[in-house]
């Protein structure tokens, strides 16, 4: 298929002739998705840790719910946030529809369940290993949870990156709440969607290759950190 060859050529040309417009789009993509990953981590990690170490009625239901929400359709999230942030909606007075902030909110909602559910699993596995020792040392649940987060930090980093990857790759939600405004809310995925609409498939795929490469580089970085840490801290 000649289209693929053209796509790789286009991707290469994009990287080589890095024009400022594209740089801005890549930068915004990174900023929005890293912010979302950061905020989602601040919410999802303590949530996951709490569910991992606490026993309360409805816990199993909550775990099933969180696991299910990992597959939340981005378009639905986008629509929900849109209706909330729209001027006619309950939070309309803030006036942040069609801004990067709105996109951060949408992506955060999208990946909190991912980070919470996966970190719950990781921390619960560690809890099984550590619980007797920590109890014996007199750790209460809260400090035990903090200890577990710190001790599983390298696994958790992978989870946060999984969340970031999902945020950076999604298009449905940011298209709706961001509006794909040139120079304001246009990110890599919405640009890809736009170029596809214009029938410029090689350019769209080329952008896709750049996006995938970015995610790969970030994950490779995390893998290296993990590897080094594993060797240093065991």
């Amino acid at each position: 298929m000649t289209g693929l060859g053209e796509a790789f050529a286009a991707a290469w040309a994009l990287v080589i002739g890095f024009d400022s417009g594209l740089a801005g789009i890549v930068l915004l993509s990174l900023q929005v998705s890293l912010s979302a990953a950061l905020i989602a981590t601040l919410i999802g990690l303590p949530l996951g840790a709490a569910i991992a170490v606490e026993r309360f009625p409805g816990r199993q239901v909550l775990i099933v719910l969180l696991n299910a929400l990992m597959g939340l359709p981005p378009v639905v999230v986008g629509l929900l946030i849109y209706l909330l942030l729209s001027r006619a909606g309950p939070l309309g007075s803030i006036g942040i529809l069609f801004t990067p902030q709105a996109m951060v909110i949408a992506q955060t909602v999208l990946i909190v369940p991912i980070i919470a559910a996966l970190s719950r699993q990781t921390i619960e596995d560690a809890w099984r290993e550590y619980s007797e020792q920590l109890h014996s040392l007199g750790a209460r649940r809260l400090s035990a949870a903090m200890t577990l987060i710190w001790d599983t930090r390298f696994s958790l980093l992978t989870i946060v990156l999984a969340g970031f990857g999902r945020a950076a790759a999604e298009v449905g939600a940011v298209m709706i709440v961001g509006g794909n405004i040139d120079g304001v809310t246009r990110v890599m995925t919405t640009t890809i969607a736009l170029e596809t609409s214009k029938g410029d498939l090689p350019l769209a795929l080329g952008l896709g290759i750049v996006l995938i490469s970015l995610v790969i580089v970030l994950n490779a970085l995390a893998a290296v950190i993990r590897e080094v840490a594993q060797r240093r801290y065991g």
Partner: protein
């Protein structure tokens, strides 16, 4: 806080009794060895005493308990120690800080105990990269640093080579000499003889006898104990 009194202590899970009506009194002073074949319930008994498990029947009474907080005055070393992903020193400091000590006080105390167990050179190395023997010595240091009245040890040398076992046994004796009560499980008769002052022999979740060490090996009171000694001795 001793003596420790067990009163018809029972623990069951899923309909089977793992510990079945054990009554005993463990006094301050002598090193107590809980001995018995695999699956006798030694580890469970120890976890009940330490408070990691809740008995399904009977009582555990610490007669000399100060301020009611019995957990603070006891510590435990497990067969497979769980080391936190941080330095050896930080592992010891962690326990001390949980016990409410200041950072500075904790570090000083931690360095002291690391020196006693011979790990002062390894203080700043990550705990998880230490050898099995070193990790177990670190676990002893972490437990002992808390200054417990009673130290529980659950098969602390089961996974170790003879040299490391020897190190651990020396440290246990040091801790005993400092005035801490030692309660330890083992299925190794040689170790029981080397470290024990009295034996609690457990079989099938029941206490068969509580006997001073010399008498235990010469004339065990129970048929189960004499069978165990006969079966085990040729290899030790």
């Amino acid at each position: 806080m001793l003596p420790l009194q067990l009163d018809q202590l029972t623990f069951g899970a899923g309909g089977t009794a793992i510990i079945n009506g054990i009554s005993a009194k463990i006094e301050a002073g002598p090193r107590t060895i809980i001995l018995g074949p695999n699956g006798a319930g030694k580890s469970v008994l120890m976890r009940l005493c330490h408070g990691l498990l809740t008995p399904t029947g009977g009582r555990i009474v610490w007669h000399g308990a100060r301020n009611g907080d019995v957990r603070r005055h006891q510590a435990m070393v497990f067969q497979r120690p769980v080391m936190l992903r941080r330095s050896a020193l930080a592992n010891v400091v962690y326990g001390l800080q949980l016990a409410g000590k200041s950072r500075r006080e904790s570090e000083l105390r931690a360095m002291d105990v690391l020196e006693v167990v011979g790990l002062e050179q390894q203080a700043h190395r990550p705990a998880r990269v230490l050898s099995g023997g070193e990790q177990q010595r670190l676990a002893l240091a972490r437990a002992w640093a808390l200054g417990p009245d009673v130290l529980f040890l659950d098969e602390p040398t089961a996974n170790l080579d003879p040299a490391s076992t020897h190190d651990i046994e020396n440290i246990v004796n040091t801790i005993h000499a400092s005035g801490t009560k030692i309660i330890m499980t083992t299925h190794n008769l040689g170790q029981a003889r080397r470290l024990g002052d009295e034996i609690l022999f457990i079989s099938n979740g029941r206490l068969m006898e509580q006997t001073p060490i010399d008498r235990f090996f010469k004339e065990p009171a129970s048929a189960e104990a004499s069978a165990f000694i006969k079966g085990e001795l040729p290899w030790h």
